[in-house]
């Protein structure tokens, strides 16, 4: 099992290297202009050279993302718990929630800008509004899918609603919750960058916007690389936390693998 794991990782790493090497070769062979598609090596050089300039923007984007994410999680958990505990609340609120979630969030940014001016606030709000939905849905689903038989067993013992929520509902929601955190952090990141691109003078989104209007294409791509790196890093952090907290939910597949 260990050997398979290592080999799998080697293949993944190989594919990433292959991707960049082919990109580099493609640009060299076709004589592609920097203005259209810079070579990855150029992008890396730009990234390293301009890093001191990029750094405050990275911090800004990360801070906005985390702020929106934390607010989104708080709101999402509260709403998800209310909806998940009662079947009626679940059925009543669901259509409205679907309605809200299907609005493309780009469309909301101008409204936030109108209300709060351009800058950090609309970015935080966009991150919040885009990331809280998966949390609501997952918490509510986790609570709503408690086996009815188990609930009967406990009710027959005289368990209160709170007993059931505490002993069964909440622990059972944890894998759903952490899975949704992983999705939510990526969404919050997308939301923050989106808003920065449209209406801000700070953050990676803004850097890319400015660079593209100056035709500094390598810098645009450097921004893109930073975004990819940050996105992956956030995802990995939350995957690790998830694995630590809710290992029981994934153990079954490990057994099959051995």
């Amino acid at each position: 099992m260990f050997g398979i794991d290592i080999r799998q990782k080697a293949w993944s790493a190989g594919l990433i290297v292959l991707f960049f090497v082919s990109w580099e070769l493609f640009c060299l062979m076709t004589g592609m202009s920097d203005l259209v598609l810079p070579r990855p090596s150029q992008v890396f050089v730009t990234l390293v050279q301009r890093f001191p300039v990029l750094w405050p923007h990275i911090v800004q984007t990360l801070a906005t993302t985390m702020f929106g994410f934390v607010l989104g999680v708080a709101l999402g958990v509260a709403l998800g718990a209310i909806i998940g505990v009662s079947r009626t609340a679940y059925d009543t609120c669901y259509p409205l929630l679907i309605g809200f979630s299907s609005i493309p969030k780009v469309a909301v940014v101008p409204i936030f800008v109108l209300w709060f001016g351009s800058g950090t606030v609309p970015a935080v709000l966009t991150a919040l509004s885009i990331c809280f939905f998966p949390i609501v849905v997952n918490i509510a689903t986790g609570l709503a899918t408690t086996e009815p038989e188990l609930e009967d067993v406990l009710k027959a013992l005289g368990a209160s609603k709170l007993d059931i929520l505490w002993n069964v509902g909440l622990p059972r929601t944890m894998p759903f919750f952490f899975a949704s955190l992983k999705v939510a952090i990526s969404y919050a990141f997308v939301g923050a960058v989106l808003s920065e691109t449209v209406a801000s003078n700070r953050g990676i989104g803004n850097v890319m916007m400015t660079a593209s209007s100056n035709f500094n294409v390598p810098l645009v791509f450097a921004g893109l690389f930073v975004l990819a790196g940050l996105g992956v890093a956030l995802y990995v952090v939350f995957s690790l936390i998830e694995g630590q907290v809710t290992g029981w939910a994934t153990r079954k597949s490990d057994v099959i693998a051995t």
Binding site: E149, L154, G158, R251
Partner: protein, 287 residues
């Protein structure tokens, strides 16, 4: 000698001549829904079960067998009639009975031991002592039960490490850990293969013979009913009522071999005939 409502079952056999009533349904009916969409699930059922009896409920599917279990456990209130359990009328309050369903519903994040101890976290007097005794007395209690069902040493495994039959044994342990005077089983072995099922019949029989709770077993399997029960009630199709109530007097402990003897087969055929009648009556009624 009548047992006090609050005395829990204490493991000793019921004293001689003490045929105290454990469960009494008097003309109990249950209707789900209201008005035009009302579905009668149980019609005027009268049933009296003595303390320590093992009663099996059989009948065509959807005949209200499970409704009787839910009435007795206090999960459902009778629409009319009276349900008396342990000497008092079933109110909104639950009866603290042990229940087990076809689906073992072990919590995947807990070891088997801790799963079995779950009722102790909820039922008094165990509840107030749970923190203090969970690592000593309560754990020993759980492991003693596990040993009885042949799961010795599996207490610290997780549910996903056990087979379906093993989980169902653990499920029986969970239903019995708080020493209920009453055990309600809703097709507990329905999802198991024939051999595992027969094995678990013997285990349930042993558990009943040692703990002597009142058992109400809902099943589709007539051999299962004959093997386990001291009394079998046959129910009609929806809305259910009791068509036949017969005693089963085969000597205990009963064996699987016994289920192929003529007496047993005759009983089986008698029950089958009742259910066939009930089914065809229901179909004519529907057509």
């Amino acid at each position: 000698m009548r047992m006090q409502p609050n005395t829990r079952f204490d493991g000793r056999p019921v004293p001689e001549g003490a045929a105290a009533t454990a469960i009494e349904l008097s003309a109990a009916s249950v209707t789900f829904g209201r008005g035009e969409r009302a579905v009668p699930a149980l019609s005027e059922t009268t049933l009296r079960i003595a303390d320590g009896e093992f009663v099996a409920l059989v009948g065509p599917s959807g005949c209200g067998k499970s409704t009787i279990l839910r009435l007795v456990s206090g999960l459902v209130q009778p629409t009319s009639g009276v349900v008396i359990v342990g000497g008092r009328e079933v109110a909104a309050r639950a009866m603290r009975v042990g229940m087990a369903f076809q689906n073992p519903t072990m919590l995947p994040w807990m070891t088997i031991e801790r799963n079995i101890m779950l009722p102790l976290k909820i039922v008094e007097p165990f509840r107030s002592n749970f923190r203090r005794l969970r690592k000593t007395e309560f754990r020993d209690k759980a492991n003693a039960l596990l040993e009885q069902v042949g799961l010795k040493g599996f207490g610290n495994r997780y549910p996903w490490q056990l087979s379906g039959g093993m989980l169902q044994r653990a499920n029986l342990c969970r239903a019995l850990i708080h020493e209920p005077r009453m055990l309600l089983l809703d097709e507990p072995f329905g999802a198991l293969d024939q051999f595992t099922r027969e094995e678990l019949w013997a285990i349930l029989q042993t558990l009943w013979m040692t703990h002597k709770p009142t058992v109400l077993l809902v099943t589709h399997d007539l051999r299962e009913a004959g093997f386990l029960a001291s009394r079998i009630c046959v129910m009609s199709a929806r809305p259910g009522r009791i068509l036949d109530d017969s005693r089963v007097d085969f000597a205990r402990p009963r064996t699987v071999a016994m289920t192929f003897e003529p007496d047993f087969v005759a009983l089986n055929q008698k029950l089958r005939a009742f259910i066939e009648d009930a089914r065809s009556a229901a179909q004519q009624g529907a057509g």
